[in-house]
């Protein structure tokens, strides 16, 4: 309860054992080049930002919940209270090397606008989201006849903040529509392990529990 205990490791301190980090965070962090400048949209308690800062990356965050923001700031992280739907417009073009949207896309009101903003503010975007096409989801709806709930997404339909679920297939389609280039795509299974690289999309869409995408602006074709 002492204040000292609440102060968590800061950049420059010894990095935590990588086993303490979530596998999708490690995957995302692996996509970010050292020394770059990153904005984490919907940064929660700041775990990913801490991982990034421990790797010498200049990280900033936006978080909707006041409690989350205050916990981040109390860890020495540069985090502000804000809403991905309304506050990204305040950031100038090309302000960051990467903008990360980790497990947040499905909770935004305007996922398409948010995605466009990510790639306006950042030269690249990293987006991860739960795949609603995952076989367990499909099975719950098909056999159980109710809205799917999992360990990672335990909320009931009436109190979930996740209002815009999509499948990996849906997301790929959106990227095509708004002329976004997919530099890297990874699907993780239920245990956070990457699926086979050469598997076809339908396989990922069925067996990927979540998708992680590294995106960049496609060359203007017209």
């Amino acid at each position: 309860m002492t204040m000292q205990q609440q102060v968590l490791p800061l950049s420059g301190d010894a990095p935590r054992n990588s086993e303490n980090y979530r596998s999708d965070h490690l995957l995302v962090a692996g996509m970010v080049e050292r020394g770059s400048k990153v904005l984490d949209v919907g940064c929660g308690d700041g775990d990913l930002l801490q991982l990034l800062e421990s790797r010498g990356i200049d990280g900033r965050g936006i978080e909707l919940s006041r409690e989350g923001v205050n916990r981040c700031v109390a860890k020495g992280l540069a985090v502000v209270q804000g809403d991905a739907d309304t506050d990204l417009v305040n950031y100038p073009d090309d302000a960051f090397d990467y903008v990360i949207l980790s497990q947040t896309l499905q909770a935004t009101r305007q996922p398409r606008t948010v995605l466009e903003n990510l790639l306006r503010i950042g030269r690249r975007a990293i987006v991860s989201f739960p795949n609603f096409g995952f076989w367990r989801m499909r099975l719950q709806l098909l056999i159980g006849g109710h809205m799917p709930r999992t360990e990672n997404l335990p909320a009931t339909w009436y109190d979930t903040p996740n209002i815009h679920f999509c499948t990996i297939k849906d997301f790929v389609q959106l990227c095509d529509e708004i002329n976004v280039k997919m530099e890297r795509a990874v699907a993780l299974d239920l245990y956070g392990r990457p699926l086979r690289l050469n598997a076809p999309w339908w396989f990922w869409n069925m067996f990927g529990e979540q998708g992680v995408f590294l995106l960049s602006r496609a060359e203007k074709t017209k």
Binding site: V7, G12, R66, V73, A74, V80, Q81
Partner: protein, 429 residues
């Protein structure tokens, strides 16, 4: 909203109530009308502190005038200040703390006039967020103040009399310009951090906007980049109260042996309401009676909240100069960083490298969160590294002076993180 259990004990704030017996209505006359308790028992001490403060003073002679925004060169002038902790060999661990409207340089020591603890003892000291084992903390009295820095209560060397209203109008940028001269005098090139709440936060922001290369980090609390119309209105109310007091004598009260304690007391009472919140007043006082069970059917202070306010008013006039109050409220009114940058706030911070931490409090209606958010948006647009936390409390604007653990945690972590980036070691070296 109002009855949420409070996280913090009311130690600092309501200590005034428990320590000092509030003024009571004397006797039982039915129509007793009690004005504010009168004469300032500290008048002489206060007058002495204005010219000869008991803290260190930096004096600037005719060769070093202070160029004021109103076009006048103030010279000679002096700045009274306090320091806590030790400046390291690299001169890289200095934190400049700014006081609010009615504060002074005595942030973490016993006040020479009132004998009370410093106004930010909770923040400054060994092991505190502004850790004096690690940082060199400086706090100076603002220009225009009345505790030793040149102001309307100081002696004008040209006339041998007190300045009074002959003192030029000063601004927040003037205060900061004077502070840069003090920092130069102390041999410090770059400040590790500038820290302040309310008017102190305004000074912190002015430092970053005017001297970004001299400020490594900034902690701006319960403040704004400009004074709102409502805040100007409250200040005008306070000034009019002072000037309506016949004892004010057009600002020459010291020559008449008086002090406009009624007017200044009323100004303080009105201002004090703006520092609190409805919820806090309700929680602490409600409609409870003061030392009585029934109304007296008079204008005596029947309610505890009245008694409390009267006490706030009368204790304030003992330690503060009325003219100084006029000048400092005016300085806040004029403050508007965007106005100095073609009306675009983000331009004030373009390309800034300073690390920011902005803090607001949910129940602060004097400097509401929306003002801090506007600042944060401008800093984001300028690509600045900024943290922003809104802290939930029912204690209003004054929360930044009180025992609010979440605020301490955030301040501590921000400074530690900035210290790591600056290469400060734990020992301050």
């Amino acid at each position: 909203m109002g009855s949420r259990p409070n996280l913090c004990s009311g130690r600092v704030f309501y200590g005034l109530i428990s320590v000092c017996e509030p003024p009571r209505g004397a006797g039982a006359e039915m129509t007793k009308v009690e004005s504010l308790a009168s004469p300032s028992i500290h008048a002489e001490e206060r007058a002495r502190e204005a010219d000869h403060p008991s803290s260190p003073v930096a004096k600037f002679g005719p060769d070093r005038p202070l160029k004021l925004d109103c076009g006048i060169d103030l010279s000679p002038f002096q700045i009274a200040y306090q320091t806590y902790g030790k400046l390291n060999a690299d001169r890289s661990n200095a934190i400049l703390v700014f006081h609010a409207l009615t504060g002074d340089q005595h942030a973490a020591n016993i006040h020479p006039v009132t004998g009370k603890p410093g106004w930010w003892e909770t923040m400054i000291g060994p092991g505190r967020p502004l850790d004096t084992d690690r940082y060199f903390v400086i706090c100076s009295n603002v220009i225009g103040g009345c505790m030793g820095s040149t102001g309307p209560a100081s002696t004008n060397p040209a006339t041998g009399k007190l300045w009074g209203l002959d003192f030029p109008i000063i601004t927040i940028p003037d205060m900061v310009r004077a502070q840069t001269m003090l920092i130069d005098r102390l041999g410090i090139e770059t400040l590790f951090c500038v820290v302040g709440g309310s008017m102190g936060g305004m000074q912190a922001l002015q430092w970053t906007a005017a001297y970004p290369e001299r400020v490594f980090s900034a902690l701006a609390v319960a403040c704004s980049t400009r004074h709102s119309a409502q805040n100007i209105a409250f200040h005008e109310l306070g000034r009019q109260a002072v000037m309506a007091d016949p004892d004010w004598h057009h600002g020459r009260y010291f020559e008449q042996g008086t002090h406009p304690h009624r007017g200044l007391g009323v100004a303080r009472m009105a201002a004090h309401i703006t520092y609190l919140s409805d919820a806090a007043l309700h929680r602490k006082f409600g409609r409870r009676m003061q030392d009585r069970d029934l109304p007296t059917f008079s204008f005596d202070a029947d309610f505890q909240v009245e008694s409390y306010l009267r006490h706030q008013g009368s204790s304030f006039v003992e330690r503060f100069d009325a003219n100084s109050y006029l000048y400092l409220t005016r300085a806040m009114d004029y403050f508007d960083i965007a106005a100095d940058h073609d009306g675009v706030l983000a331009r004030a911070f373009r390309g800034i490298k300073t690390r920011f931490c902005v803090v607001s409090f949910t129940s602060d209606w004097l400097f509401p969160t929306s003002e801090s958010r506007a600042l944060v948006h401008a800093l984001n647009a300028s690509n600045a590294r900024v943290s922003f936390a809104e802290i939930e409390t029912d204690r209003g604007h004054d929360a930044f002076l009180l025992d609010v653990p979440e605020f301490f945690d955030i301040s501590r972590a921000f400074l530690q993180s900035a210290g790591t980036a600056r290469g400060l070691t734990r020992a301050g070296g």
